[in-house]
Amino acid sequence: MDPRSHEAIQQDPDYQELVRRRSSFGWTLSLIMLVIYFGFILLVAYAPKFLGTPLGTGVTTIGIPIGLFVIVSAFVLTGIYVSKANSKYDALIRRIVER
């Protein structure tokens, strides 16, 4: 068990940096995901004909790449968070825990 109290950890600059960076990053990414997803839902709700616009001369509509983009963006955003957490946050946490 760690002998340090939570009050002591709260004073730790590494901890303060971790909390500040992680929460702002997490909430920013959440907000981006919400905007992308509800942007898509609003298009479905209010502009279904726009999503039905054909790309070029074929039958594939613009809605297909937009739908795929939402799926891929979910994966990419998760990936961005995980890689940043693995490199930055884990190092900070290790410093805090080992102090």
């Binding site: 009050e7 995901m33 609003l42 509509t61 968070y81 995980v82 957490a85």
Partner: protein
Amino acid sequence: MKKLSCVLATTLFASLPTLALAAGAIDGGAKQTVNWVAIGMFVAFVAFTLGITYWAAKQTASAADFYSAGGGITGFQNGLAIAGDYMSAASFLGISGLVYTSGYDGLIYSVGWLVGWPIVTFLIAEQLRNLGKFTFADVTSFRLGQTEIRILAACGSLVTVAFYLIAQMVGAGKLIELLFGLDYWMAVVLVGGLMMIYVTFGGMKATTWVQIIKAVLLLMGATFMAGAVLYKFGFSPEALFAKATQVHPKKLAIMEPGSLISNPLSAISLGLALMFGTAGLPHILMRFFTVKDAQAARKSVFYATGFIGYFYILTFIIGFGAIVLVSTDAAFLDASILEKTKSGIAAIKGGSNMAAIHLANAVGGNMFLGFISAVAFATILAVVSGLALAGASSISHDLYAMVIKEGKANEQDEIRVSKIATLFLGVLAIILGIIFENQNVAFMVGLAFAIAASCNFPVLVMSIFWKGLTTRGAMIGGFLGLISAVVGVILSPAVWEATLGNPKGSAPIPLDNPALFSITLAFAGIWLFSVLDRSARARADRSGFDAQYVRCQTGIGAAGATTH
């Protein structure tokens, strides 16, 4: 235990041929002929997973083993298991069937079901691992009043699990009736029985491994199917879509959003339920306790998001493939319906949910049909096992150990209670599955998501991030969300008109999914009653936040992985 699981396994195998024979005798009508390849592959799957259960049973001694596989699952394995929980038969057959009938609309559901995952990664996964031990109520009750919050969490969990379980059981019965030619009630009993064996003997370890194996099989099968479809069109999606718009009666309309979502508010409400429901499903949340630490928890959601996203893209191709290859082939169509409607889409044998199954036959012949049928059955088994374990944990860990025994329960007693709870849930699921046989169950999944999004999710997120949350606020807000979600579903067009038979347009609430107002009500209730709370308990609740937050951020003091 060794002896008992052997006896159970032998009884099960001894009874299988009889089941199949009995089904053969009453074959006909809506049911398929008995598919021996499918039954053979399914028996092989069951034998293999029972072997795993036997192996897991030998290693499951402590409560940590039973509830969380001793924390010994890696991030990658857990990612597959989470993806497996999510790739249920309902989403595999349901979404490909939806694409088959409506085209683009199917994609709207896929997207909604996926976008909850990033939110889980950013805000919940690591926090859960750092604060909790066996159930998500460990997190919500961390600094709040144990008794009240555990009861709230147990209500939220059990109601969610119950509705989800009924939907899966009814779906399972119908599907197996069609695939294997078994009677409906036999199929339900078989699923319930196997589920009880996996969970009571193998606990979380067996449940997780069954889920992982099934996820791999399903991903392989779906990849092969989508690949075979694209191969026929020279790997050009445009060529596939072009052919599909020619043969589908809705023509070009299948390439854009259609009638599925009738009004904008319904679309937003459904979107909210799908997105935040994911972050409140107890059988998903419990998976974060099976990994070693917060880093593994976060990696597991990353892998899961990748697998699920990939899988949904496959189901989209599979649905379009079925439009082209199934709806145009008389072998898969019901001649009498085809006569009446002139539409191959409407005439599909066994309904649109069978689109992926028929496509398997069309691209891979009888062998592959057998494989996909067996995988679909395995999927149901794996998902109901996870649900049963989540429900049982809630009863034994939250209600029995924490509320009734006030945290002083003997570990072996706690495990015994959870096994009894599993048997109870299994029997209940079988009975409810039989009672609800002819009910429309689609709304039950919607209800499960709405309750998870309106009760479990708000309480969880507020307890992690908001210092001002008090026990009273969480209780009132949580129950407001739970009750308004249930009432909202009953008063919605889907239930009030379609299920209860009231005239069209008479539903008191015009939204098919109540999430829009039930989530708002829950958050508003939590905030208002926490702010107004001036009790001594509230002071203790607020002063506990700092210590909780430090642990949630750093993992210091978190329940470690138990090694034996």
